[in-house]
Symmetry: C2
Subunit: 146 residues, 2 copies
């Protein structure tokens, strides 16, 4: 029941629909992360570093959807816990280059089976084709100029 019919229903509001879909997907992932004492943000940092190799901190911020001050804080504890390592770039000494360590990578591989099970469950219900289509559309949306 819509009291203001000229406003789109929340289910057809892109930001709200994206959030609700994300909550559905994140729910079991959060359970998994909680069991290994990792925040969502740290998990995104590990995924980005595993994918991109050695990168500077601004790249992590952009790819993991975090602000640079948050990255500074997060990497400080991740370095202390041995999940990532940092080195000053010798060419441009303003830059700090970051890599994932074996210990950091192990966190991802140790939980790979659980991750695949979560994705598999969604795929089983939606179908692989629709899931691929959704990921294609999300990639396209992500690239839109705002």
């Amino acid at each position: 029941m819509t009291t203001q019919s000229h406003i789109k229903s929340t289910a057809r509001s892109l930001p709200i629909a994206l959030l609700r879909a994300r909550e559905t997907v994140m729910s079991p992932i959060r359970d998994m992360l909680q069991s290994i004492h990792l925040t969502e943000q740290k998990w995104r940092v590990l995924r980005v570093l595993d994918e991109l190799g050695e990168v500077e901190q601004s790249t992590i911020a952009h790819e993991a959807c975090l602000l640079l001050p948050s990255v500074t804080r997060i990497l400080r504890t991740m370095e202390a816990e041995g999940q990532i390592s940092r080195r000053r770039d010798s060419d441009d000494k303003r830059r700090t280059m970051v890599t994932i360590t074996n210990a950091g990578r192990s966190i991802l591989t140790d939980n790979l089976a659980a991750s695949l099970a979560i994705t598999g469950n969604i795929e089983a219900q939606m179908g692989q084709e629709k899931l691929d289509q959704l990921l294609d559309l999300l990639e396209e949306l992500q690239a839109v100029r705002t």
Copy 2:
């Protein structure tokens, strides 16, 4: 460049792709909300109330993807600012029923043109058909059992 090819690229990771797409969409919306001193969460509450009419607080929490303690705090300030009103349900006195006020609705209608412009820009770049398809898929994903 993937260092662990058996882990999906972040662009094909549903939670990360949903987040990145959401950040793209939210960026201009955040600018709009900031100009009217409204948080994303309060904006979602207004949208949900405008759509559903009078509802109890648990429903708001579920629909707006918020925890009940957050809803308690958020509604307290929104009530003080005259955007929503609350009344004890006479049938079940545990329930608090919440409605959007005219002032709250005005916030949405006053910013309708700006909202439509943001959506219109995305639609112009992606095409209406793809956008509809995306919203259909997001609704379907949202309903998956996890």
